[in-house]
């Protein structure tokens, strides 16, 4: 599924006095591609991915998807995408298996059937033996796996991920990135992945969409032509270094802008 974003703007608050979060964002995210959206904090990248997922309304502009099997049929995004949230949003009263099966339960799938499918996902993300634990009893990395499995079980063609690994410690993050790469290479979904970490974007992405400081718009799109399957050793390669430098220069100005703005805001009238 191709995701076509055209002229998306978002203004928080009322039109006259509001704060512009996104300004005329247009981009086509390729079908079955892993696209990373990279930007400084506060650039509106989380807002953008929520608008794409239909979980936040845009002030103007539209999001449509195009099925590669029927390239002429453009339609608004419905239940084609599913989100993995930055703060996970697991249901704390549900066990691991019931969290993962939530979407099927809403769809009215009978219990036996949804348990069976949830068990398949539990095996895929490596959570066997923890079916009946509650989220509060799991480590950060394990909760992350639950959130991923809960999204994957719906088998929607578009996977939206909003800084899903930002809260993990460095080692767990590496393991989860490798697992995500393995799952992506198996399932070939269209993935939109928001991050503020340059290494993560290069390591995971087929392309890196760099956003400007607020109001966010797209500054540049860098294709990442590194071969798959990828592993962490890639970080030491010359190609990786060149890509890192290029993206770093793009984003440095934007980070500086954000910092200046914050300094001015802090020093301004109370």
């Amino acid at each position: 599924m191709k995701v076509e974003v055209s002229k998306i703007s978002k203004i928080w608050g009322s039109a006259g006095s509001g704060v512009a979060a996104l300004d005329q964002v247009s981009h086509v995210f390729g079908s079955r591609r892993f696209s990373c959206i990279l930007g400084p904090s506060g650039c509106g990248k989380s807002t953008l991915i929520q608008i794409i997922g239909g979980l936040e309304a845009a002030s103007s502009g539209q999001v449509r998807i195009r099925d590669p099997a029927r390239p002429d049929a453009l339609r608004p995004l419905g239940a084609d995408s599913v989100m993995v949230w930055q703060n996970l949003n697991l249901f704390p009263w549900r066990s691991v298996i019931d969290n993962i099966a939530f979407g099927l339960e809403m769809r009215g799938v009978p219990r036996a059937q949804r348990s069976e499918r949830a068990r398949g996902l539990i095996a895929l993300v490596g959570l066997r033996g923890f079916e009946d634990h509650r989220p509060g009893q799991l480590s950060g990395g394990m909760r992350q796996r639950v959130a991923l499995a809960r999204a994957l079980i719906l088998e929607r063609p578009i996977l939206l991920m909003d800084e899903p690994f930002a809260a993990l410690d460095a080692q767990t993050k590496i393991v989860m990135q490798e697992e995500l790469m393995r799952i992506f290479e198996q399932t070939h979904k269209t993935v939109l992945f928001v991050t503020h970490a340059i290494e993560e974007a290069i390591l995971l992405g087929d392309e890196v969409v760099v956003m400007t400081a607020r109001p966010g718009c797209i500054k540049d799109t860098i294709p990442i032509d590194l071969p798959r399957p990828r592993s962490l050793e890639l970080v030491a390669s010359k190609e990786f270094g060149a890509l890192f430098d290029r993206i770093f220069h793009l984003i440095r100005d934007e980070v500086m802008k954000t910092m200046q703005e914050q300094t001015i805001a802090a020093a301004g009238p109370a």
Binding site: G53, N87, L88, N89, F91, W93, R134, P135
Partner: protein, 264 residues
Amino acid sequence: MKAPGKVAAQIGERLLPALTVVVFVLGWEFFVRARGIAPIYLPAPSAIAVQLYRMAVDGSLLHHLGLTLARIFAGFALAGVCGILVGLLMGMSRLVARVADAWIAALYPLPKISLIPLLIIWLGTGEAYKIVISAVTAFFPIVISTYAGIRQVDRGLLKTAIDLGAGRGQVQTKVVIPAAIPSILAGLQLGMGVTIILIVAAEMIGGSAQGGMGYLLISSGQVMETEKVFASLVVLAVAGAIIIKGQQWLDRKVAPWALQREDR
């Protein structure tokens, strides 16, 4: 391996509360005997224990305690059902919340005991009056906690449920209500506390032939049967503690996730 000194300290910490009670009771006994204080003012713990035993054997203790407990649970059940129902309705409908909020703001600060004369005029001094006065009092903390629990549901969880395909009704039953359960249980605990207080108070004011621990207290006090007064107080304290602890235990069974929240 723990150092023996540390283990001893832990045991000491466990035993200390019980030890203070024992020391207090022994001190009391000794004080009353040494000073020869008249039992009408301050009976010795041993005399209270004997009185307690007598009341247990002749069946009067069970009779009065049973009446009081039945009233407590009736008042609590009434308040619980109404409070949770109204709280849920307030959480789901802005109109209901607006209307109910005005009534709660006006009636909540009113000391409910001040309604006793009116309720006696309307309902007499029988069971209805006792149950209504305690239920009215317990209703407020329950309705307020239920409504707060629903209003404070994490918006992220709602968005997540919608993203995963939940419809409007499913969001309410599968997310909003379960997420509000810890808050509802906290309201029920507050409600139980005030129900106990109000039932015993209402029994003190109520008629002569209706019994209950409150009646036992006031009637024993009036004829200076101080041992009976103390025996009743001991029973009330123990019964109250068992009810509250039992409720806490039940809450942990019903909502084990409430205490160990996710840190992110």
